[in-house]
Symmetry: C2
Subunit: 169 residues, 2 copies
């Protein structure tokens, strides 16, 4: 049988969030073992006009909760973006996981055809639910997860593809 | 109706390959306008033990053709990894696009339950077709596409999220 919208969206997002949490734990331990303030990593970025690690993590969770809420037809939880440390980022990830886990597969039935409207300061994007998942959520989710990983690798944190893929893969 | 395996895999891969092609074109033009040899970008990497741009592009195409072939049940085209310039990378991307476009949606029917075995030097991964797509292909495809983008952004090539997402998004 083909993939349901729930199956195509939620388990991969949960896997990615778990991997991100484990990656951040490794980064924190690595900073301790190299005797520098781990907060330096949170402000690290790959280019002056790219977001730092802390914002990459926030956007990963925003993309995940936005997807779950929009496709399930419930209100998007609002997070205030006030995190300043690893502990608070881990709480944000955990909160996102709990939100996604609380959604029922049946809430996603028919969401492939639902109109999704995303308003940004400079543009409005209109999607069907399926296009939103395939051409906005998944590419963006993996973009910010990968960029978080790339920022840490660029700063010498020892990570491998297994940390990114998770699940023993 | 839910997503077919074909729909969940091939159109997003084609979109990503088109975006990668356009990103590489912008990188080449930028190198020319900044008066340095564009080949320098192909050898750029974010960490000494990460792959350079040229290898990131090769892996993006490998992931795409491997996915199409394994899920459609046909032989994986073999590319010799001998590219040395932007022109050859563009040819490799175009060749991958043509291969994917030649696959028929019906060839993917039932592929969600197909056994997929991936042999690596140090391990063998076993997936169902659906798990292969969701937990190997899509995360890896976007990982290497994003890392190619991140390498270029780190080296000052002016790109934006629209270049990565493509399709006007």
């Amino acid at each position: 049988m083909p993939l349901s919208m729930y199956q195509a969206a939620i388990p991969p997002l949960l896997r990615g969030l778990a991997n991100l949490s484990a990656i951040l734990d490794k980064a924190l331990l690595n900073a301790e073992s190299r005797h520098f303030d781990a907060a330096v990593l949170l402000q690290a970025r790959l280019a002056p006009d790219m977001f730092p690690l802390i914002r990459q993590v926030q956007i990963v969770t925003d993309t995940a909760k936005g997807c779950g809420a929009r496709l399930a037809g419930v209100e998007i939880p609002s997070y205030p973006d006030t995190e300043t440390g690893f502990d608070e980022l881990q709480q944000r990830i955990a909160r996102t996981v709990l939100f996604l886990q609380g959604l029922q597969a049946a809430q996603f039935d028919g969401s492939e055809a639902r109109d999704i409207v995303m308003k940004f300061p400079n543009q409005t994007l209109n999607f069907t639910g399926q296009d939103y998942l395939q051409y906005f959520v998944l590419p963006n989710f993996y973009f910010h997860l990968t960029t978080a990983y790339d920022i840490l690798r660029h700063n010498g944190v020892p990570l491998g593809k297994g940390d990114y893929l998770g699940g023993g893969g």
